[in-house]
């Protein structure tokens, strides 16, 4: 999906999504980075307003500073530019599990009303799925152990569903208090960034609520692309347009080899 707004700068909705996602990261944070959209956003943040952001990849790198987008989660550039390279068991046991990471930045195939994530199967019969997806990877424990979780996902009725077919990574369960009941240390998904806007859990119910609209997007567009009866925050705001600097940094990152 590629749209153009009326503003002077021409950019795609994917670019808006990556830029909006990058903006939510701060330089004093440690971010556990999933590959794909999260990695683009985290690297963009490092190239723009958050040069000190610490990137942690599950392939075993602490503090990677890649000069281009890694092609995979284990791209050699992640190891070559890291402060420390460690084994995969150590990443999960010594660094993720004890809650040392501020932000877990995840993607999703399906995301539901309470921020639960599915990357396992489409269809409710696990043994005979409609579509077999890649599976869990590091996500279940990232979603459990990071202080908070940001999700970046392209939004549609297929991806934004009332209830995920399979809970690969626990968000807010069926509502407020479910994480506490399970003893999960982190706050779970506190931000969901899509190509249409930004969602936050309602503090009372933990249901995802539209809190920010990207330029040129209407609430009706978002409802159209949401598989549940969407609630809109009374303080709905607008995402500032991408700056020239943000767009230039994003495009340079994607073009660099």
């Amino acid at each position: 999906m590629s749209t153009t707004t009326e503003s002077e700068a021409t950019y795609t909705s994917d670019e808006m999504m990556s830029i909006a996602a990058a903006r939510v990261l701060r330089g004093d944070q440690r971010c556990f980075v999933g590959i794909g959209l999260p990695s683009t956003a985290a690297n963009l943040a490092r190239r723009t307003h958050a040069p000190d952001l610490v990137l942690v990849y599950e392939s075993g790198t602490l503090g990677s500073k890649p000069g281009r987008l890694p092609a995979s989660i284990g791209d050699g550039i992640l190891a070559e530019t890291a402060d420390a390279v460690i084994s995969v068991p150590e990443v999960f046991n010594y660094w993720l599990q004890p809650g040392r990471i501020d932000v877990g930045f995840l993607g999703a195939a399906q995301l539901d009303r309470f921020g639960n994530i599915n990357t396992t199967v489409i269809g409710t019969d696990y043994a005979n799925p409609k579509v077999r997806l890649p599976g869990a990877g590091g996500a279940p424990e990232i979603a459990a152990s990071c202080r908070e979780v940001f999700v970046v996902v392209r939004q549609s009725r297929r991806s934004f569903v009332e209830k995920v077919d399979f809970v690969t990574s626990f968000g807010h369960g069926r509502g407020r208090g479910d994480r506490e009941r399970l003893g999960l240390p982190g706050a779970g998904p506190t931000l969901v960034i899509t190509d249409l806007g930004v969602f936050r859990p309602d503090p009372e119910t933990s249901e995802l609520v539209l809190s920010q609209l990207h330029p040129g997007v209407e609430v009706a567009d978002v409802r159209e692309a949401t598989g549940w009866e969407l609630k809109v925050s009374p303080e709905l705001s607008s995402t500032p347009e991408p700056t020239e600097a943000e767009l230039a940094a994003l495009r340079a990152l994607k073009e660099a080899k």
Partner: protein, 272 residues
Amino acid sequence: MADIVSLADGVGRLVRDGDTVALEGFTHLIPHAAGQEIIRQRRRNLTLVRMTPDIVYDQLIGAGCARKLIFSWGGNPGVGSLHRFRDAVQHGWPVPLEIEEHSHAGMANRYVAGASGLPFAVLRGYSGTDLPEHTDTIKPITCPFTGERLAAVPAINPDVSIIHAQRADRAGNVQLWGLVGVQKEAVLAAKRSLVTVEEVVDELAPVPGGMVLPTWAVTCVAEVPHGAHPSYAQGYYDRDNAYYEYWDSVGRNRDSFEAWVREKVLDMEGSR
């Protein structure tokens, strides 16, 4: 002491029909050449273990070598789906594939337990997810000091583990560096092990970030230059990102896959 053998002899000696086999290498140093040698030797009914069954296992699954897959993430990294894996799970082609599915944290800890001679490992994992409902190798365990509930997973102890490394010396000591993933654990957890290496050298000069597996912890070493392609070997060659795209087109259809297996694997018999 490890024996230095050819790839064909190493696979022939160590991998048997029905074995539980782990090929490890987390995005780096993936033992692709060894995987194709297993196809070439027409092994069957394997239980394949791997955290990230990417192209290397798409090939083994498509070629009908596997009856079961134990894994935590099955995709073509940076590209998309593994079509042979999906075809096997969704349609049982060419043979039905049983799956046992974990998270990375769970799989990593299963290897750690295997390497440590323990029957299980403990982690904070799987809470609230649907995995324990479908995977019977995830059980609750209670801390005997605090009463806290955690997850337990059983050790993985493959019949044979296969990894790729940069170098070995003539005594069979193995050296690898860069992203080392879970390779040490995979080798130490296994009953037998095969390490393919870029080269066998006289002396292993120390390398920052390097690790050495002593020869007495390895069964066989085979010199297989470029043995990780299309994955990469830090210090030797880069990842062939175009191949990962190419694989998407090969793996997408049964016909194109079968042509590939015939031409690029089976007909290459004895070429190593």
